[in-house]
Amino acid sequence: MHINPLFFIPKPVLFLIFFSVLSVCKIVKDEAWALDLKALVRDVEQQYMGESSVSQTHMQVSTKNWQRNLEMQAWSLGRDFFLIRIIEPAKERDIATLKRNREVWNYLPKVDRIIKVPPSMMGGSWMGSHITNDDLVKANHIDEDYTLRLIEETELHFLIECLPKTDAAVVWGKIIYKVRKQPKVPELIAYFDESMQKVREIYFDDVQTIGERTIPLKLTVLPLDKPGEKTILFYREINYDVSLDEHFFTLRSLKQR
Amino acid sequence: MGQISFMSLIELHNITKIYRVGSQKVVALKNLSLVFERGDFAVLAGPSGSGKTTALNMIGGLDRPTSGQVLVNDLDLGKANLKRLADFRLHNIGFIFQSYNLIPVLTAAENAEFTLMLQKTPRHQRRERVLSLFADLGISGLEDRLPKDLSGGQQQRVAIARAIAANPRVILADEPTANLDSNTAEDLLSLMRQLNNSHGTTFVFSSHDDKVIRRAKRIIRLEDGLMVSDNSQNL
């Protein structure tokens, strides 16, 4: 049986995935060997995410049955708070997703209700894309749930393997990051299931310098079990260190517009 | 009928019968040769254990000799299979037992007509035959009684009716009077003689009682499985 509900997951997906990856990249800064990978993750995360951010993103989802384009606005604060709101298409305008810590909420303007994504639905698709609710919640906890190890270093790249800690409730059997050295940005993340079968890849490109930061603006998610399908996220605009506090990320503000 | 022995109904040739009782061998009959003819009224006389019963069993096809040959009506009983022997008895032999041995759940009439039934005689014919037999035997009116409601003498008469109902060539009786008082025994013997006279039925019976033995036309004496004498007398 196929459960394919929409469950909105916060838009911060992007950020989350991004930042976690970026932070991982940062791990290898200084090229010193005795790296404290965990500290570096946070370090890099801090550098790329800033304390807070506001962005505007385009998402294109292509499946065998349809293709759709969404414009979304997103806010983030630290690693625990994200809010994403759909701007277009008009039919889905103002549908919003809030992530607080490890919980995900959706706001549905048509019925004017807020719905919490139940644990059983965390593996479901977010906004019909190839990103799951879990990705939103767990992407920036990679350094907590996985053991990181540098497995290869070339002139241009670092290759980092992430294996789940024994007690971590995670969905992947293994994650491999490929990080460019100069500039230090992620290039590819490969996800493996429990039988170590590669099931998903995320590519990063269009590397741009925004203010003092260099980040890839485009992210492509390829589900390997569904050939031909993909989700592309693209940052139109991103501003760091805006003035946001936790009160912004409440159910009330989720509903507000 | 056999061509070889036109008159002889039963022929015993050199019959020896040895039983095994545990590890012991008991010789019941030794080289017994006898011929009975149609209409015989013969008694096998001798003390208990002299081989009388064994000899009767041989003639009736109930038992096979260890050696020797039993021919009854030209059938070699030693060579016949069980089914053949059963059919032989059904059509040729009538048995009268010392203790009557009526089937307790069947009425007197049903006991008497049992062999007729086995011969597949139609029901009304069986009934007629039984009624006339019972009249002849002086037990009319007892047809529907169960054996337990009959006296010893009456039971033995029913047993005789059963033995002769199918008109067998030979009637074998093992100590038929042993359980009867002397008057009843006397009556029974008279009855047997009467049947022998009127129907020509061959009787071979055993006894150790002189009063009974005296009534036979032919007296064959056995001792320890050996025949010691074979005398005919006119009565």
């Binding site: 049986m1 196929h2 459960i3 394919n4 509900p5 929409l6 469950f7 909105f8 989802v61 499946t63 049955n65 349809w66 293709q67 759709r68 298409p89 039919k91 889905e92 549908i95 959706n106 549905l108 048509k110 019925v111 209700r113 719905i115 919490k116 994504v117 139940p118 059983s120 639905m121 698709s125 906004m127 019909g128 | 069993n57 009736g60 109930l62 038992d63 069980l82 089914k83 059963a86 059919d87 032989f88 008895r89 059904l90 059509h91 032999i93 048995f95 037992f97 041995n101 089937i103 307790p104 759940v105 069947l106 049903e110 049992f114 062999t115 039934m117 086995l118 059963r162």
Partner: protein, 406 residues
């Protein structure tokens, strides 16, 4: 006369015969009752699996049953196909299926939502009979749904409450709408009570952006046991992208239950009859031993050994048939009681769902000819088998030895 003799012989030891007979009567009647209850449980299971959800036959795109692909739809005009007008088919219900979230207050639950036409659905499934609160859907209902009892408990909702349903529509958009609960059903099958909701078909077609499309046509037929035959017959006539599955294919475990049921029925029969058979064996051995001399007399009188054997077998048959008459009557009486009244166990146990069907907490029997014939035929066979050894012994007696016996 042989029959009369056999019958009379039975009553020579009245007490022993009655004892053996009562053992046979008890085993036959208990067996009939037990098999009737087995059948009742099985019928409940099959009914819950088919009449509460699947129906007896389901027409859908091949693979739909396994993959539940949202896009594997059929036009709803398929209902009017001439082959589906077969008189064996008593009801046809079109359905569209969606998986999503139902939410009330702070609670959300994943659900399976069936879009149905209420009147058509009622001709196929029995959910309309299992409403415990509120009412079933009506044709004029629009944004309404009925919800399983367990789900209603989890969400803490009752009829009149408006819940949100969210799912992904066929165009990828997020379909969401408010639905008023009209009723709560309770089937006893936890999976349905905890996960299933029903809403009007047209409403769901709009929400999913699948106008005029359905996933399946569920059908009720006259005799569920003929479902597979009927399915293959209709499939041969069908000339569309759809195929028909029968309940045996939808619920392969249920088919296994049937064969397991047949096996366990035989096991129960064998165990009960093994004891009975030993009783018969014992009775007839004793009876034959007691009559050794009598059999010797019969043999001496020229009764063939085969006929002796027949006599003893006949006695066993007569005993078995008398026991059967009484036992079947008593068994039928008990089955009748359990059919009409039954025993309610719901105070002590909860429904058990197994192999896609639900065993209800009640003892309830149904009449099934097989449940009478099996014990009857097997008892006759057991009696024959158990009396064969004694019969053989009687037939093989040596008349000389037998007559000498006291």
């Amino acid at each position: 006369m042989l029959f009369g003799l056999a019958y009379q012989n039975l009553w020579r030891n009245r007490r022993r015969t009655l004892l053996t007979m009562s053992a046979m009567v008890v085993s036959v009647s208990l067996l009939i009752l037990a098999l009737g209850i087995f059948s009742g449980m099985f019928k409940d299971m099959l009914a819950s699996a088919t009449e509460q959800y699947y129906g007896h036959l389901v027409m859908a795109k091949p693979d739909y049953h396994q993959r539940r692909d949202l896009y594997a739809t059929l036009p709803d005009t398929i209902l009017t196909l001439p082959t589906l007008q077969n008189p064996e088919i008593l009801g046809r219900a079109p359905r569209l299926r969606s998986f999503g979230l139902v939410s009330w207050g702070q609670t959300s639950q994943p659900v399976e939502l069936l879009g149905i036409q209420p009147l058509a659905e009622a001709t196929v499934t029995s959910l309309h009979d299992q409403i415990v609160k509120g009412r079933f859907l009506e044709e004029t209902d629009k944004n309404c749904l009925i919800i399983g009892w367990g789900l209603a408990e989890k969400l803490n909702v009752r009829p009149g409450d408006a819940v949100v349903f969210v799912t992904q529509a066929a165009d990828g958009s997020i379909g969401n709408d408010l639905l008023t609960i009209t009723g709560i059903f309770r089937t006893g099958d936890r999976r349905h009570d905890n996960n299933l909701v029903l809403a009007p078909l047209t409403w769901l077609q709009n929400l999913l952006v699948l106008p005029g499309r359905i996933h399946e046509v569920s059908m009720r037929i006259h005799n569920p046991m003929t479902a597979s035959v009927l399915a293959s017959r209709i499939n041969a006539e069908l000339n569309t992208e759809a195929t028909i599955l029968d309940w045996g294919e939808l619920l392969p475990e249920m088919r296994e239950v049937i064969s397991a049921y047949d096996v366990s029925r035989m096991i129960v029969v064998i165990i009960l009859y093994l004891a009975t058979g030993l009783g018969i064996l014992n009775t007839f051995f004793m009876s034959v031993m007691e009559r050794t001399r009598e059999f010797g007399i019969l043999l001496a009188q020229g009764m063939r050994p085969w006929l002796i054997r027949q006599l003893v077998l006949l006695e066993a048959m007569i005993l078995a048939i008398m026991s059967l008459i009484i036992g079947m009557f008593l068994g039928g009486l008990m089955t009748f009681y359990m059919d009409q009244v039954g025993i309610d166990l719901s105070k002590y146990i909860t429904p058990v769902t197994y192999a896609g069907g639900t065993i209800l907490p009640r003892l309830h029997a149904v009449f099934d000819l097989g449940n009478f014939l099996t014990p009857a035929i097997v008892l006759l066979m057991v009696s024959l088998a158990a009396s064969y050894l004694p019969a053989n012994r009687a037939a093989k007696l040596n008349p000389v030895v037998a007559i000498r016996e006291e």
